[in-house]
Every structure is written in C-alpha cells, then in structure tokens.
C-alpha cells in the first residue's frame, strides 16, 4: 500500500501531498522535511529508492519536480516507479506537456487526477484513457453548472434592472 504521495520542487517546496495513512500535522511536516532531505540530495543515476523509517520512498525526478511515493517494505518498488510514471503521463495528457506552474495554479486538478488513480493507497485504474475520460466528464459537469449559474444570474440581473 502507498502511505503517501509527495510532490516536491527542487527547492524543497511542496506542490502536492496526499496521505493515505493518518499522520498528524506535525508528523507530516517532519516526514516532508526528512524526505526532501533524503531525496533532493541524491545524485542523479543512483537508484530511485530510499529507505525511510521502515518504509521505502520511491522517487523520480521530472524536470524540476520530484514525485515521491512512500510504500510499505514488502511492496514492489519497480511497480511503484511505474505508477509514478503512469501518473505523470496522465498529468501530461491532461495539461498538455505539464510543467510545474500548471500544478501550482491548478493544484486541485492534480488532486482530482490522483483521486482517479489511487484510492486507499492502492492503484485504481491502469488505463490512462479511462482516467482522462472520467476527469473530462466531471469537468464538463462543473462547466455546465457554471454556465447555468451565470445564465441564471444574467436573467436575475436583467429582471432587476
């Protein structure tokens, strides 16, 4: 099971965190600090796994962002690495060659995508297409609602003029 997902920038700024096990705010901050310390200092070409407090952190760097997933000792490291890549590919497809800024200004979208990928720390869907379709469907629901709301407020403002 994946315990938590972290996205950290090269400067150590947190871009996304998702916790599948209960960690108090204090523990979260500590974990983020320790893991950034471990991961950001590692030279390129080394293996993508670091051991952290009885768990393993699988990380991969994409441009200026480190994607980290903390998993149980007995899980498959290579698979989690593949899950990270899977996530990045979906983000890429959704944003159209994703960059760090996309994830900063649309962080909630990144969370929505992650929620379609993982639940309870387990993989939910192996098809990128399905995830893209589900996200698009929900986005369009939001858009319709917005349009309705704005047309409604237009009618109201027209009426009250």
């Amino acid at each position: 099971m994946i315990q938590f997902v972290l996205l950290i920038s090269r400067q150590g700024k947190v871009r996304l965190t998702k916790w599948y096990s209960p960690y108090s705010q204090k523990e979260r901050n500590k974990a983020i600090r320790e893991i950034s310390g471990l991961v950001l200092t590692r030279a390129p070409k080394l293996c993508n796994f670091v051991e952290w407090r009885g768990h393993k952190v699988v990380y991969k760097r994409y441009a200026s962002l480190y994607f980290c997933m903390c998993m149980d000792e007995e899980d498959n490291e290579l698979e989690v690495l593949e899950v990270i890549h899977h996530f990045v590919e979906i983000l890429d497809r959704y944003f159209g060659s994703v960059c760090e800024l996309d994830l900063i200004f649309n962080f909630h979208k990144a969370y929505y995508i992650l929620d379609e990928l993982l639940i309870a720390g387990e993989l939910q869907e192996s098809s990128k297409k399905t995830i893209a379709r589900l996200i698009a469907a929900q986005d369009s629901l939001v858009e319709t609602a917005k349009e309705e709301a704005s047309s409604l407020s237009n009618i109201i403002s027209q009426a009250t003029k």
Binding site: C47, F49, E77, E79, H86, F105, S127, K128, Q138, V142
Partner: protein
C-alpha cells in the same frame, strides 16, 4: 457576482504568495487571506465558499493551520451541486483525517451521496470514504459499499472495491461480508475492476483465513487462467506499457497467487506452468517487465518448493544483480535477502557480486548489500568476508561507517574461529573506526583479551603499535590504556613473543608516555582519563623506575575540576606516597573476566550477535595467580551484609580499581541471565558511578590480602561491614584505618568459609542461610536455615519445603519449631544438607516454598534462591 466581496481570485492569491521574497512577506499575505476567509465564513457567504476552500487547501499545503475551514467542507458536501461537492470532498480529504471528531458529522452526507443518482457523486463519496474513513464510519457505511460492488458502472465497482479494502483494514470483523462480492469481481473483464478486485481479495486473504481458504479453493484456477490470457494477449494500446499488456494487473495477479500458493502444495502446483511462462517470456529491458519478473521471482520463492522454478528464479536474480541499472540491482539485493531463508546456497554463489555492492556509490544499495552480507556470513567464509569489509572500512563514507562498523564487530564476534584472529580484526576496526564502536563491543573485547592469557603480550604490543598511528580513535585509546596498565611489563620485556611478531623495543618510560598522551589528549573523555589514571597507578608498581614520574602526572590531576578524576588522583597519590608495602598487591592483574557470563548477558542485548552460554559459569584456566572465587566472596560481603545506605559498601580494592560492584554483580558467577550484564565489566573497567567511591571501607584490603593465601574469614566479613558503614567520605580517616589494619596478619582457617546469604525475603518473612562444609567432603554443604518473622502476628503451622535440580541431593532435618513468634522475637532454624554431584561445575540453586498460618489463615510464599556463593 457579489459586488461587495473583497476576496481575490485563487489564481491571484497564488500569484501574490509566489511573488513574496521572504518568509515574513509570505506569512503576511497568508494572514490577510486567512482573515478574509474567516470573515467570509462568519458571514456565511455562499457564493465564494468553494473558492475560499480552494484557497485554504493551498494555504494548508504551505503548512499553515487551516482547521477553521473544516466546517466549510461539510457545508459544501451537503450542498446539492456537483461542483460544490467535488471541491468539498477534496477539502475534506486534505484538511481532515480519520482522527478528527468533525469527520463523524459527514457520515450522513456520505450515506446520501453513496445512494445518489449521479454516478460521479457516488464516485466522489467512495473516494473520500476510501481515503479517510474511520472505524466507526466503516462500520456505518459498509453495507452501502458492499452494495456498490455490484453497481452497473464499472468505475463505481472499482472504487467500491478499494473502499472495501480500507473498511476491512479498519474493521477486520467485516471481512466475511465482502468475500462473496469480492470473488465475483475476479470474473470481470474490465481491467480497473479486475485490478481492484484482485487487490481486495489479496487483502481479504491476509485478514481472514476463512477468505483465504475460500478464494484458494474457488478462484485459484480462474486466476491462473486470467494471468495466462493476460500474458498471451495481443497488443492492446489502452493498457500497453513497453510492449506488455497491463503490467499492473500482472503484478497484482502474481501477488494474489503468491498468497494462495504459500503453504498449499495443490494451489502451488496449479500455478507452476504460468509462473514458468511469465519468468521466461517476459521482456526484461524496461522497468515494467522487470517489475513483473521481480514479482514473479518473489512468488516463486514463496510458494511451495519446486526445484526447477527456484533455479529459474535465482538465475533471474543473478541477471538482475549484474544489471547496470541501479534500480534493478537494488531490488535484486532486496529479493536475495528474502531468498536466503529458502535457498542460502544459491545466494552464496553471488557473494562476490554482493560484496561489490557494499562498495557501491549509492547509499541505498550499500545498505541493502551490507545487510545481505551480514546474513551470508558463516564459519567458513568469515575470514575473507571480514577482511573485505575491514579493508573497505578505510575508504568508506563517514555516514556509512557507523553501520559498517557495527556489522563488522557483530560478524567478527559471532564467527571468530580463534582468539588471535578476533583480537587482530578488532584492533583493525578500532584503528580505523574506533569512534564508531559501541561500548558493549569494546567491553567484549576486553573480556576476550583477559581470557587469552597466552596473547596478553602480543595484544599489548599490537595495541602499542596501533596507538602510534591511530591515537585519535577513542575506543582504541581506552583499550590500549587498559592493556598497558594491566600488561605493561609484558610490553617492555617482550613476554610471550609470537613467531609472527616483529621484535619491538619499548622502554618503561615509553609505556608511561602512552598513558600520559592518553590522559592529556583534549579529546579524551572522562572514562578514558579515569582509565588512564588507574593504568598509571598499576604502572607505578610494575615500573618502579617511573614511579616518581607517574606520581607527578597523578598529582596534576589532584586539581582536576572533575570530581571523579580529582578523587582518584588523591587516592592514588596517597597509595603511591604512603603505602609502598601494599601497593604491589593492590595493583595485581585483574582476575580473568568470566566470558560465558558476559556473553550470556550480552545475548539479550545484542540479538543474534552472540550464542547463548552452554555452561553457566566457567572459570577459565589462566596465568593469573588470583582465583575468581575469593574475589566474588569479597564482593559478596560488600553487597549482601552491608547495612550501609550505599548498597555496595564499596570495598577498598574495588575503589582502587575503580570498581563499583552493584549487588547484582555478585550473581555473575551464578550464570543467571539477569539484568546487569554489562555492569560487571563496566565496573571492572573502572567506570563506576562516582558516588560509590565516597564511602570507602578499608578493611577489605585486608581480606584481599588474605584472599591470596586463605579464604576470607567470617570475622573479616563482619569487621569490614561494621567499618564500612562507619567510614566517611573523607580520605583522611580512611588512611588511618588503612594504616591500622594493614599490618594485621592474615588469619588461619581450617576450611573454606562462605558468607551467609539472605535466601528469601518478603514483607513478612526473612530466610537466611549459613553455610559450612567439611574440608574432606567438598561436595556436601550443610546449610543452617534461619527464619525470622517480620510482622507483628505469630505464625503457626510453619512448614518449609525446598526443591533442587537433579544434580543436587537434598536432605532436610526437622525444624526447631513450627511456630514463629512475632516481631522477630525468636526464630525457627532448620538444617539442610546438600550434595552437589557437579561440584566445581555448577552452582547451587534451590526453589523454596514456605507455608504457615496467620490467625488460622493459610499463607504461602514461594521463591527461588540463586545467590548461593560459588563453589558450593
């Protein structure tokens, strides 16, 4: 929309935060935003609720407190529209976790949403439930989730499956409800549902044996078929990763098969073919393929043995190990670690490669490899492996040294074929990484050194050489100082030269130099300096020519600010200046430390590092004049009989050596694996707590004198006790006492005499044993048991029973009475005769049971006597 709202847009807030140059600026922006959001919350602003929550999530991610927004999540979730619910659930998952009370309030909304007609809203509720539900919520909502496992849309089914995993982990009792719906998911075609269904079954099997049996019986064949179809499936773009169709599903199927095959030959049999196919056919040039192979190997190693498959698996690992990709090597090491239990021989074959990995530049790989090497060491390969590791120690990273040193020490201690090799290796480790060596390790080394009497000279000379080059390693300095103090004469006179040694010329003053350097090193800590002082005192007697110089060094420390050192210096100076006649006896070589006991003690603290002792107490033959037993006796009186407040009456010899034996130490001979394992040694190495030194008794010096010739007499015991309780912490009266007693002649004794012990003591009763023995019959001991009533009630119908192990014979004489008067006004005595068939090998041990009546009420007290003097 609302023209009165002052709220900025989310995008603007993020921009403003990003524009901050300093942390203080950022805090100011966040504070302003938070204030605005709070105000909006207070006004119960509906239009901007979702925007405010989004802002809060961002602020939360930066690490600021956002608890005030938790109720907003609930309000959004309760609102009817999808957009509000979507952001509300997201906020719920981010801002809350299962331990918050507020979460309970959302249960009702969740229940409604799980039954919503819009499947996306159902999906949102399932996702939130799966990520943060608590045990109570799991219980409340489990029926809804169970129902959703059969929902028409597969995307809801897969979410429900993962949600079920969370539920059964929180409330394992609910597992059986999920067995049937979970197994029906295994027949699905939709990959998402299949992946989550397989995962759910895996977790069910881990939680409930009932589920495991059921799934094993009903689904194994189906799963094998699914995996076969998947492995043989043609290219499908939707699920393809690096030429493999859905590696995630592959891995999950292999994982579930592993759980089913473990411990079941039939199930294992039915999956052999497909495992062989996956192991041989999977492409191994991409991460995805290797992930599958890795999982497959793990399954092969876990299920019931099949020789051919195991060979295949080990070969794959061998290929992994020589791969250039660090990730692949890492998982190979990881897997070999698990394979060691199944097939140690096969793993041994890769030893050389693994050893190379210990020297890798990647810390993760090094750590894995070191752990693997550690389990691979055995009696036959310990020498080359230890050599490799120690050689590597020289060039290893600072932060890796602590780990490496600990492992090397453990390996060397566990498998050393002979003492000289052990000592050699430890000296190498100490010279390279002495600062990383743990205390237990160098205590153990000293125990070994004292026990290797023929190597004393060799060791002290080797240490002398090592000290010249590696004086910066604290533990090496300590060991050197200790050994020079003990065996300094051997160093100077080249005693016990071995053939392999180069001759070395060391003068007496060179030896003193060493200790002086050690004591004046700035880096030396209190322990080292205290040990150095003790060593100097010893040398002052061994090297009369340097006596004056040593005195000068010691005198310097009379002004030390550290109480411990100052006190030692004053005492030692007094000995050198005033008590020439007893000095040589005082500073005799340390008695041999009991190896078996020490190892036994250590076994508890360092699991796997030492074997348990087979013989509880062995006194090893050695060249040292003083036998162990008298010393133990000497210590007995210090601890047993002394009524003085400081429990370890602190006898003089102990103080001289800096020995501070706690009561527990007297049991060292009994071989009981009790708590104070390291204390004995600690004390002998003169690192006692300083407090014990303040109550110095003097008479024991006498007993130590006499103990060289005869055993301690009971009179000595008594006098020592009475004096020790009177003597003060002042050094001057101590010296007087010493003067007064030093000339008194050693006593004559007709036979060995043993101090009495308190065999049993409770709030109500004390039992003491007095021992006597006929010299012509050493196997038999006569024990006079004395019972004393500690309460104000008279005991009637008093019966004492005793039981002993087979190697002892016990004869009980009738008791003097069966009534025990109150308040210790009189006692019952009873004599016991014990014959020890293993005399000299095993100590006495006894279980006691005492039954009596207080005012007609039965009372029973039981105990075990372990503190018999040795050699009974």
């Amino acid at each position: 929309m609302n023209p009165f709202s002052s709220g900025t847009r989310l995008r603007d807030m993020i921009r403003a935060i990003r524009a901050c140059k300093t942390a203080a600026e950022e805090r100011a922006v966040v504070r302003k935003e938070c204030a605005a959001i709070r105000a909006a919350i207070n006004e119960n602003d509906n239009d901007y609720r979702h925007r405010n929550l989004a802002k809060l999530m961002f602020i939360h991610m930066l690490g600021y407190p956002t608890h005030f927004g938790q109720m907003e999540c609930l309000k959004l979730i309760a609102s009817p529209g999808f957009p509000e619910k979507r952001i509300g659930y997201l906020g719920l998952m981010l801002l809350l976790d299962e331990r918050q009370e507020v979460l309970m309030l959302v249960t009702n909304s969740l229940k409604q949403d799980l039954n919503h007609t819009n499947q996306y809203i159902v999906g949102l509720a399932l996702c939130a439930l799966g990520n943060i539900c608590s045990a109570e919520m799991a219980r409340d909502l489990a029926p809804e989730v169970e129902r959703l496992l059969q929902f028409r849309d597969p995307n809801i089914r897969k979410k429900a499956a993962l949600c079920s995993i969370r539920i059964i982990k929180k409330v394992p009792d609910l597992a059986e409800n999920f067995i049937n719906p979970a197994t029906s998911l295994l027949r699905e075609k939709h990959h998402g549902v299949l992946i989550t269904g397989v995962q759910l079954c895996t977790d069910l099997c881990k939680i409930s044996t009932e589920a495991l049996e059921h799934i094993r019986k009903k689904c194994t064949d189906g799963l094998v078929r699914t995996l076969k179809d998947l492995a043989n499936s043609p290219y499908s773009p939707e699920y393809d990763i690096a030429g493999i169709t859905d590696p995630f599903l592959h891995i999950r199927l292999l994982k579930l098969l592993r759980v089913l095959g473990e411990g079941d030959a039939d199930a294992s049999d039915s999956m052999n073919d497909i495992l062989a196919q996956v192991a041989t056919k999977t492409e191994s040039n991409k991460v995805a393929g290797n992930a599958i192979l890795y999982e497959c190997v793990q399954t092969i190693m876990s299920i019931e043995d099949n020789g051919g498959l195991r060979v295949l698996a080990i070969n794959i690992l061998g290929r992994f190990l020589s791969n250039r990709d660090n990730n692949i090597r890492y998982v190979a090491l990881n897997m070999l670690m698990r394979a060691v239990t199944a097939d140690a021989q096969a793993v041994q074959r890769h030893r050389a490669t693994i050893l190379e990995c210990v020297k890798d530049s990647d810390a993760s790989i090094r750590k894995r490899a070191l752990e693997l090497v550690y389990v691979l060491v055995n009696d036959t390969n310990v020498k080359p492996l230890a050599k490799e590791l120690i050689d590597y120690l020289e060039v290893s990273d600072q932060d890796f040294r602590a780990d490496l040193t600990a492992k090397i020490c453990s390996i060397v201690a566990k498998f050393s074929p002979e003492k000289i090799w052990y000592i050699d290796q430890m000296l190498k480790v100490l010279s390279e990484a002495g600062n990383f060596v743990k205390d237990e390790v160098w205590y153990a080394l000293i125990v070994v050194i004292t026990n290797a009497s023929e190597l004393h000279g060799y060791t002290v000379r080797a240490l002398y050489r090592a000290f010249q080059t590696s004086a910066e390693q604290e533990t090496l300095v300590r060991i050197t100082v200790w050994c020079v103090g003990e065996y300094g004469d051997m160093l100077v006179h080249n005693v016990g030269m071995l053939d392999i040694e180069d001759p070395i010329t060391v003068t007496e003053s060179d030896a003193v130099d060493i200790v002086e350097i050690a004591i004046n090193r700035h880096a030396s800590d209190l322990t080292t300096k205290a040990m150095a002082l003790a060593a100097l005192l010893k040398l002052s007697s061994r090297f009369p020519s340097c006596s004056e110089r040593i005195r000068e060094i010691i005198v310097e420390f009379k002004g030390s600010f550290v109480l411990e050192l100052q006190q030692r210096a004053i005492e030692f100076n007094a000995i050198i200046a005033k008590h020439q006649n007893i000095r040589s006896t005082l500073v005799e070589r340390m008695p041999v430390l009991d190896e078996a006991t020490f190892i036994g003690r250590r076994a508890g603290s360092l699991p796997g590092a030492a074997s348990t002792p087979t013989v509880p107490s062995v006194s090893l033959p050695n060249g040292v004049a003083k036998p162990v037993a008298p010393l133990v006796d000497l210590l007995d009186l210090g601890s047993d009989d002394a009524p003085a407040p400081s429990s370890s009456g602190g006898d003089f010899l102990q103080d001289l050596l800096g020995v501070d034996l706690s009561p527990a130490s007297q049991q060292s001979g009994a071989g009981q694996a009790s708590k104070s394992g390291n204390d004995v040694l600690l004390d002998l190495l003169s690192i006692g707590s300083p407090s014990a030194q303040t109550s110095s008794s003097t008479v024991d010096i006498l007993s130590s004198n006499s103990s060289n010739k005869a055993q301690v007499s009971p009179l000595d015991d008594l006098s020592s006790v009475s004096l020790s309780s009177k003597s003060t912490s002042n050094a001057a009266p101590m010296m007087d006492l010493l003067d007064g007693f030093a000339p008194s002649p050693p006593r004559e004794n007709n036979g060995p005499v043993y101090p009495s012990i308190t065999a049993f003591e409770s709030n109500s009763l004390r039992l003491t044993f007095d021992f006597s023995k006929q010299p012509e019959n050493p196997q038999t001991t006569v024990i006079q048991a004395t019972f004393t009533n500690l309460t104000s009630n008279t005991y009637t119908d008093f019966v004492f029973q005793a039981a002993v192990p087979k190697f002892l014979q016990l004869h009980l004489d009738p008791a003097s009475s069966n009534t025990l008067p109150a308040d210790g006004n009189g006692s019952i005595t009873q004599s016991l005769k014990i014959t020890n068939s293993q005399h000299g090998k095993k100590s006495l041990v006894m279980r006691t049971r005492i039954a009596y009546k207080i005012n007609g009420k039965d009372t029973l007290e039981e105990g075990q006597v372990n503190n018999f003097p040795r050699d009974l």
